[in-house]
Amino acid sequence: MNGPHDLGGQMGFGPVAPEKDEPYFHTEWEKRALGLTLSGGALGGWTIDESRHARENIPPAAYLGASYYEIWIRALEVLLERHGFATRAEIDAGQKQMEPATPKRILKADMVAGVLAKGGPCDRPVETKPSFQPGDRVRTRNFNPETHTRLPRYARAKTGFVEAVQGSFVFPDDNAHGKGENPQWVYTVVFDGPEIWGEGADPTLTVSIDAWESYLERV
């Protein structure tokens, strides 16, 4: 979707403001927000792709005005409600009113180290061979789905070359919507700055994205 999250090339946000000796957390609630987001994901009700899409669906004014931990919490609330773990009324009240859906697991303290060390690999085998090889010239497709995609707007309908075949991975455009993992080959595709940004672009700049095979057409 062409949501507020798709920020590449937008203007008007001012300078980057790196903070010297930035702490890991700025407030106590950010710590709890991190833990709640990971614990919520562990319930097994949704995939990382669905959670990304929930964040993208935060209304633009709210998204752009929120810190990232706030974005996480807003999306987490939507996901908990969507999957029957808590109702809006329960979340607002901070009190249980009904039994939740049955989670696949509950993240207990003694499981944390193992779960973090294992992570959630997204590579999956596919039976096809890669359609593209390093050095191939490709053009990204031009589409504007209302659904989840990982092809940024700035990189649509642009010509570049394949630098690497990175393996086959879960296809987020489907997986975010419960349509299955449907893995595809993923390629690192490199574009010259002027191809993306046109007149006045930095001639020393190249930008790469990691693109699923169905984002690409042969040139």
């Binding site: 403001a17 407030t27 833990g35 931990y69 009240a93 993240l107 940024p152 991975f169 790469s208």
Partner: protein, 216 residues
């Protein structure tokens, strides 16, 4: 009632440019997060002690020192550097750094010709296993919007000015690959061991918004 409606009301209460807007917003979030933790705990869906362990892990165990050790080893051991080029996930795992947001690692090497810079324009993808939690600026719109169109301007805001003819390669982390920049080894460090070398490698140098060197 939709979540959006609720959020709209919330924003209205505190979004009119009062001096304390920032404080109010943060105390709003404090109450909101506390309510969420309370109800999920009461429903048996979360373990608050697990949250404590997660926080402690990212405050004390998983941080940029991990990545700095990877870089120092790459500088010291050509075989390890080659392993990083061909299978970064396995090479990094050999040092004990694995798992969440480091499942599919790629190491990208700065050279005299090319400087690498990593961003996630679409969200906040970041190599947690080697760098820990991302800083606020990495997740904020200014960096995410400008890194791909004006990287030299962004780097200047970090105090880094590259030679005009140096190429800049920006890696937008749009899939599940996570990128670690291997900065160039500073001159005059031939006699240093890996721990001393790691001291020269900041978090920002491994994102690409700095180069390696003594802490200013």
């Amino acid at each position: 009632m939709s979540a959006d409606h609720h959020e709209h009301e919330h924003d209205h209460d505190h979004h009119h440019g009062h001096d304390h807007q920032h404080d109010n917003r943060y105390s709003d979030m404090q109450a909101r997060v506390k309510a969420l933790e309370s109800v999920l705990t009461e429903k048996g869906l979360i373990d608050p002690k697990a949250i404590d362990v997660i926080v402690e892990t990212y405050e004390t165990k998983i941080g940029p020192r991990n990545g700095a050790r990877v870089v120092a080893k790459a500088w010291s051991d050509p075989d390890f550097a080659e392993w990083l080029r061909t299978d970064a996930t396995a090479a990094i795992a050999s040092l004990g750094y694995t798992g969440r947001q480091g499942e599919h690692m790629r190491a990208v090497f700065n050279t005299p010709d090319t400087h690498n810079l990593v961003v996630c324009t679409l969200c906040s993808c970041y190599p947690w296993a080697v760098l820990g939690l991302p800083p606020v600026w990495y997740k904020a719109p200014a960096y995410r919007s400008r890194a791909v169109i004006d990287p030299r301007g962004v780097l200047a805001e970090f105090g880094l000015t590259l030679p005009e003819d140096k190429k800049i390669r920006v890696w937008d982390s749009t899939a599940e690959l996570r990128y670690l920049v291997i900065p160039e080894r500073p001159e005059g460090t031939e006699d240093l061991g890996e721990e001393a070398l790691a001291d020269l490698v900041s978090r920002d140098a491994m994102i690409g918004t700095a180069i390696a060197g003594p802490r200013p």
